[in-house]
């Protein structure tokens, strides 16, 4: 096999694509890598199938690999896996460009989207139907939020960084839920009456929904928003406008790291694999001025990037 094979997350795909394309253009003696889309889970599964010509070399993932997965990897012979963190993906709220400005805090989101709220000390089905019932500063719009579906890694971030963070746990405890686990569960339970719409497709689908429902609020990746800034207006979270800078510095709260995993055993075996990874990690690719950053990837701080390069060069495995 003379072609690198990459599979995995569709969030990482656009970045991997840019890198693969430029890699092919720069290293003309190697073929352009093939980058599959299909989700982190399926990608890691293929990755963990074993070592050899007929298995893939790299798995893209929008979440860290799980212990379980690593274990089954090792069982199948993939004992040495190198982890590479390429940067961060910001998660933003946006509305139609013609709408008013939005300033959200996690509590607003929790109150608008949670399945159950504590009202007057009792746990009841979420009674809010309009945003301004949640927070008078918000517009008088019917609640209609397009949030990532459960298949997406983003959903997890959404739940932990917003719902859980905005959840009034004390009130829940006061309402009679003693168990911490139970509280955690209640916090992240999302209403199912059609006000919060799961989107299992990509952000284009969310955009289409906002297009057809001008008073909808959608959750997007930062990259996607930036590419569609002429159609969307972004909301601040806790007063911070999401941007590569605010995310990189950690001011903007909602973001997640993106990864890929390399099969170390393949490094000298698949022509170009090593060069590809190095090329990917180069500042020309993932630095703040790089095409990936232009596309919307939030670059990791300089030290972290250098750390990644060093770790890879040193052959550090998980």
């Amino acid at each position: 096999r003379d072609q690198i094979q990459v599979a995995g997350s569709s969030t990482v795909l656009p970045y991997a694509k840019i890198v693969a394309e430029q890699f092919g253009e720069t290293f003309t003696n190697f073929k352009t890598p093939v980058v599959e889309s299909g989700g982190s889970g399926a990608g890691i599964k293929e990755f963990c199938k074993g070592v050899g010509e007929d298995t893939i070399d790299i798995a893209n993932s929008s979440r860290p690999i799980k212990k379980d997965e690593l274990k089954s990897c090792a069982d199948a012979g993939v004992k040495e896996v190198q982890e590479v963190r390429i940067g961060y993906d910001g998660i933003v709220f946006a509305t139609d460009i013609k709408g008013p400005d939005w300033a959200l805090v996690p509590a607003d989101i929790y109150k608008a989207l949670a399945a159950k709220l504590v009202v007057d000390g009792k746990l009841v089905d979420n009674p809010n139907t309009k945003w301004n019932q949640v927070n008078p500063a918000l517009p008088d719009w019917d609640i209609a939020a397009y949030i990532p579906g459960e298949k997406h890694g983003t959903r997890e971030v959404f739940e932990t960084k917003l719902l859980d963070a905005g959840c009034d746990k004390a009130a829940l405890k006061a309402a009679g839920i003693a168990d911490d686990k139970e509280i955690g569960k209640t916090c992240i339970a999302i209403r199912k009456d059609g006000k919060a719409v799961d989107i299992d497709g990509d952000y284009t689908e969310t955009l289409a929904r906002i297009d057809s429902n001008k008073t909808g609020v959608g959750v997007f990746g930062l990259a996607f928003y930036e590419n569609n800034a002429d159609k969307l207006k972004v909301a601040t979270v806790e007063g911070i406008v999401p941007s590569t800078e605010t995310i990189a510095t950690g001011k903007y709260p909602v973001s997640r790291p993106l990864f890929f995993y390399v099969k170390k055993a393949h490094l000298g075996v698949v022509p170009g694999l090593k060069e590809y990874v190095e090329f990917f990690l180069d500042d020309q690719m993932i630095g703040p001025e790089s095409p990936l950053a232009q596309y919307g990837l939030v670059s990791a701080p300089d030290a972290e990037r250098q750390g990644q390069r060093d770790a890879f060069a040193a052959g550090k495995t998980m």
Partner: protein, 438 residues
């Protein structure tokens, strides 16, 4: 046929006659006919709506903006230290975009020292210029030092602006094209240097992360391979299986089982065929991932039930008297089937093929798990090389963040439909030839 409107009542009839409820029956007849017309109109209306939506969104994708620039292949830029004789990689790594930029700067009369202006120029021309110019140079290294007019692709955003798809009323900061760039664009347009050309790249380029250099080339080849495989496998196997089941198999529990089974396979979600392909063809038989060959096999399995169901129905519709006639002359059952029944069943078989292939041509889900939903930039040389397919390209472009891809996606849909029609036309002509009323 002497076709006389059935809805006119016999007015001339004078004598009182037996009442056979004609009035009501004619009303029923008329209603029935109207239902037919309505049904067809509904179908055609939806078709029209779909086609109009697709075409109106996608036709612009067939044009692409380019800037014709006199590129001077400056040795100082390409090979500053004059090492190309010893190190061929110089020509590969050279800063080709710079050549294009220089030419553009000269054309627009910008002062190269004016940094802010130069910065605004960024993103005017496509990054694809690198490959384009490099190909020119590696094809003929003697161009170095000469000047030549080259059509350089404009960047996707400028292309959109040129086609008037960018809302200039939006705040400049929120757009991808600055006012300065618009001014330059208008200037170049007025000079006749910047113009739209037929977008051959849409048909020839492979996948790319840049809208302007992305095309369906790999997808067309991949789909072509897959359709050939599906046609070559599914049609004969499907027809053979139907013949066996309909004409030869004894009617018993076991063949009932097969029949139910085949019908059932038609209801299996297409992604499950992908699972099967992954398990059997890739994991068990060790075939390569992302290959059109495996895709073709998976789509074959997916298409088979459709063809079998259609073929069996068509075979069953041939009247038994034809069978007796052939057998009575001493034809063997094989001969009877292949020489008499099959030609008469051909229209139905072809219809099944058309519908089956149409679906196979448009499916993405089964290809997902065998790695064909992928970014593939290089042309596949054989069906065993990585490739994508038309619907995959559509699906992937539909999910792109950059707007320019939406247009390409609609263009791709048009190409797919044309591909489909081209594929169907033979079948439709054949079907008409075989059609026979008796």
């Amino acid at each position: 046929m002497t076709d006389i409107p059935l809805d006119t009542m016999a007015g001339a009839v004078a004598r009182p006659r037996r009442d056979i409820g004609l009035k009501a029956r004619y009303a029923a007849e008329r209603r029935f006919r109207i239902y037919g017309v309505i049904a067809i109109s509904v179908g055609l209306a939806f078709l029209a709506i779909m086609l109009i939506t697709i075409v109106s969104k996608g036709y612009t994708a067939f044009w692409q903006t380019t800037v014709t620039l006199p590129i001077s292949f400056d040795e100082k830029v390409i090979d500053p230290s004059n090492k190309r004789a010893t190190d061929p990689s110089v020509l590969i790594k050279a800063n080709y975009p710079k050549l294009a930029e220089n030419a553009l700067v000269a054309k627009l009369g910008i002062d190269p020292a004016n940094k802010p202006m130069m910065l605004k120029l960024k993103g005017f021309l496509s990054e694809g210029a690198r490959v384009q110019l490099r190909d020119i140079v590696s094809a003929d290294p003697s161009v170095i030092g000469t000047t030549r007019d080259v059509n350089i692709l404009a960047a996707a955003n400028l292309d959109s602006a040129f086609k008037g798809q960018i809302d200039l009323s939006v705040d400049e900061a929120r757009r991808k094209v600055s006012n300065q760039q618009i001014d330059w664009m208008n200037k170049l347009k007025a000079d006749g240097v910047m113009a739209e050309h037929f977008n051959t790249g849409l048909f020839t380029y492979g996948a790319s992360s840049r809208p302007e250099t992305s095309g369906m080339g790999v997808a067309i080849i991949g789909s072509f391979y897959m359709m050939v495989i599906v046609l070559v496998l599914a049609l004969p196997i499907g027809v053979a299986a139907s013949i066996y089941l309909e004409e030869f198999a004894k009617k018993n529990r076991f063949t009932d089982l097969i029949e139910v089974n085949i019908n059932n396979l038609a209801a299996v979600p297409s992604i499950v065929f992908g699972l099967l392909g992954l398990a059997v063809f890739i994991n068990f038989l060790g075939m390569p991932r992302s290959a059109a060959f495996v895709g073709g096999l998976v789509l074959t399995l997916m298409t088979l039930p459709t063809i079998i169901i259609a073929t069996r129905a068509a075979l069953a519709a041939v009247p038994p008297s034809i069978r007796s006639a052939a057998l009575g002359l001493g034809a063997s059952k094989m001969q009877m089937v292949f020489q008499h029944i099959l030609p008469l069943a051909a229209p139905g078989i072809l219809t099944g093929t058309i519908i089956g292939l149409a679906r196979a041509l448009g499916e993405t889900a089964p290809l997902l798990l065998i790695g064909m939903v992928a970014f593939v930039a290089d042309y596949p040389k054989t069906p065993f090389d990585p490739a994508t397919a038309l619907p995959v390209q559509i699906y992937m472009w539909a999910n792109e963040a950059e707007r320019a891809f939406v247009e390409r996606m609609s263009g791709a849909i048009i190409i797919l439909l044309v591909f489909l029609m081209a594929m169907n036309i033979t079948a439709i002509v054949l079907r008409r030839r075989f059609e026979r009323r008796w």
